[in-house]
């Protein structure tokens, strides 16, 4: 078991759900409520030193409850270590805390997750669409959005 998993399991036992190390990628599954505290800890802890939030994305698992999974990839530049944190997010209340106050990189990534999956980030300063246009309805990377459903601004449907 990786060092980060051990520490998180001991320190954040109340929101720790699961951990695995498939293909060598250290992965921790947490309850969504804990993410802001965990991220602040990861960033400031002198041993872990995860100073870069590399990526924020989500995965849609239709038929599974909770339906969505928000996936964070952290990177520690001094230790050259990676950590993936996953948060199961229910379909009826797709909302997690924003990490924008901690990392500037979270700003655009979270906007993209909102645009593509419709997951809201609590406390985000400017949560609006980033890749699609405002007139676009729905969230295209959800599995139930048909790949060819076009919503043109001008011109015919196809």
């Amino acid at each position: 078991m990786g060092r980060a998993t051990e520490i998180l399991r001991a320190r954040f036992a109340d929101c720790f759900l699961d951990a695995h190390e498939q293909h060598g990628d250290e992965t921790v599954v947490l309850r969504p409520a804990g993410i802001a505290a965990v991220a602040a800890f990861l960033r400031s802890d002198a041993e872990l030193l995860f100073n870069v939030l590399m990526d924020v994305t989500a995965v849609d698992y239709p038929g599974r409850t909770p339906r969505f999974e928000v996936v964070y990839h952290f990177y520690s530049l001094p230790r050259r270590a990676r950590l993936r944190i996953k948060l199961p997010v229910p379909e009826d209340q797709p909302e997690v805390d924003s990490l924008t106050p901690l990392w500037k990189s979270a700003n655009w990534y979270e906007r993209e997750v909102w645009d593509m999956f419709g997951i809201r980030f609590r406390g985000h300063p400017n949560l609006k669409r980033i890749l699609m246009y405002e007139a676009f309805e729905g969230h295209p990377l959800r599995k139930d959005y048909p790949i060819k459903k076009r919503q043109p601004l001008i011109g015919p449907m196809n």
Partner: protein, 464 residues
């Protein structure tokens, strides 16, 4: 009631004419200028809404997404192998690196290790791509600063890179050359001497541009101390690659987490000190030289003479093979390949063998084998038939390579079927463009062009 009236701005203005006049003055001084989405001095489509005070940028708002082509959605609707051509078009300036990054993610999922020769070829091709990318980036941004000659020199050099890439892959830009477990084809005959010859010309062109730009007063003044970002800010934004190295952080995935054959070659990671446009220009110029060095070392280290896959096959004429099969002498046929007409693939020269791991779950059998024995034919069917194909076991993996702009990561989730459940790209220039909202502020309007050039924004990977 009185409180409500106080909050009404119109009422407030009436009550306090001095403040209203100051506000009007402020509004008049500030001007909103819209740059883009289709602007002459910007390669790529992006919209920057700037708020100016005189010529100084006070606020910049960036709008992206004009080249959103649904890569991630498309990837869920084609097989694992079918994603390959889509990855070409992510960063179309260095497509080979994208190919190999995606392959590495799938290989990680399936637990495949490519053969050593394939790893060498990947290293060489990735570095060629990186040179091409930096040539385009520096050339185009120099052109936007009116140094058109530098652009022409670099385009001439890039044409040589394209010729080498075409010799190996058959296409200039969109190559679909990576395969899960290896690469599509071996290096052709005479590739190494040709490449070494071209490297001389490329180095000459780079030296020429050094002479034209590096100590050029106009170029220096426009690049030095413009578009400054500090290391702490860059890491806060998640920026990697030349943009981070320009600030003095010597981080390069090729050194930090060596993949391919980077642990066996020597190279230097150039860094800057000030994190401005000029440092980034110098870092890119030096990285090209280092990439050429890596290629040359790989040429030396690769097993000499052999231009075929690890085990050359035994050939048998097709008619003899039919005879043997008719007489049920099939046991000798399994290792043999039919000698095919060179025109089989629609080209005059013999098709090059793929260099790929010996793994039936991912690697396509060679053409000769497919035509000679039933096992390979069935294997081929299983890999190309609809709803079959490569099937990584259910799970997830993240693999990252050093793209030309920084860390290019692929996060692949498999549910065990022939289609990816999710392929997520971590695009290297996304955080850089995000940081522009901070970097541009405080600079002049003219600096936007220089800074934007050094960002090397690639629409394909930014908007996917």
């Amino acid at each position: 009631m009185a409180d409500d009236m106080k909050q009404d701005p119109e009422v407030e203005r009436r009550d306090n004419p001095a403040a209203a006049a100051a506000e009007d003055d402020d509004d008049a001084r500030r001007m909103v200028i819209n740059i883009g989405p289709s602007h002459p001095a910007m390669h790529g489509i992006i919209r920057i809404v700037t708020e100016l005070e005189g010529e100084t940028v006070r606020k910049a708002e960036i709008e992206i997404g004009y080249l959103h082509r649904a890569f991630e959605k498309s990837a869920e609707h084609v097989g694992w192998n079918g994603v390959m051509p889509y990855t070409d078009r992510l960063n179309y300036v260095s497509p080979l690196i994208n190919n190999f990054g995606y392959c590495m993610a799938v290989e990680k999922l399936m637990g495949i290790r490519p053969p050593e020769r394939a790893e060498y070829i990947r290293t060489i091709m990735a570095e060629l791509s990186r040179v091409g990318d930096h040539l385009t980036c520096v050339g185009a941004s120099a052109m936007e600063l009116n140094a058109f000659t530098a652009f022409l020199y670099f385009m001439a050099a890039r044409e040589l890179i394209y010729e080498l890439v075409e010799d190996v892959t058959g296409a200039r830009i969109t190559i679909a050359y990576g395969r899960v477990g290896g690469v599509r084809s071996d290096l052709p005959e005479g590739f190494i001497p040709k490449a070494l010859g071209f490297f001389k010309t490329i180095r000459k062109n780079i030296a020429e541009v050094h002479g034209l730009l590096t100590r050029n007063r106009i170029f220096y003044d426009r690049m030095r101390d413009t578009g400054v970002i500090h290391a702490a800010d860059a890491l806060d934004y998640g920026i990697m690659g030349p943009f981070l190295r320009g600030t003095g952080v010597a981080h390069d995935l090729r050194k930090a987490e060596p993949y391919h054959m980077y642990s066996r070659v020597e190279f230097v990671v150039p860094t800057g000190t000030r994190g401005d446009n000029y440092d980034r220009y110098l870092v890119r110029m030096e990285e090209m030289e280092q990439s050429l060095r890596i290629c040359e070392q790989c040429f030396k280290q690769m097993a000499p003479g052999t231009h075929q896959a690890d085990i050359p096959p035994e050939y048998l004429d097709a008619n003899q093979m039919v005879d043997a099969a008719k007489h049920a002498r099939t046991e000798c046929l399994i290792d043999r390949e039919a000698r095919l007409s060179p025109n089989m693939e629609g080209q005059e020269h013999r098709h090059k063998r793929q260099v790929i791991a010996d793994d039936k779950t991912a690697a396509m059998p060679s053409l000769g084998k497919t035509y000679s024995n039933i096992e390979s034919l069935m294997n081929h069917f299983m890999l190309v038939m609809n709803c079959h194909g490569i099937r990584p076991p259910a799970g997830e993996a993240y693999a990252a390579v050093e793209g030309a702009n920084g860390e290019l990561g692929f996060y692949a989730v498999s549910d065990g079927t022939g289609y990816p459940h999710r392929v997520r790209v971590h695009p290297p220039c996304f955080p850089i463009v995000a940081s522009l909202e901070q970097v541009l502020v405080g600079g002049m309007v003219a600096d936007i062009i220089a800074t934007f050039g050094s960002v090397n924004m690639i629409g394909g990977e930014l908007d996917r």
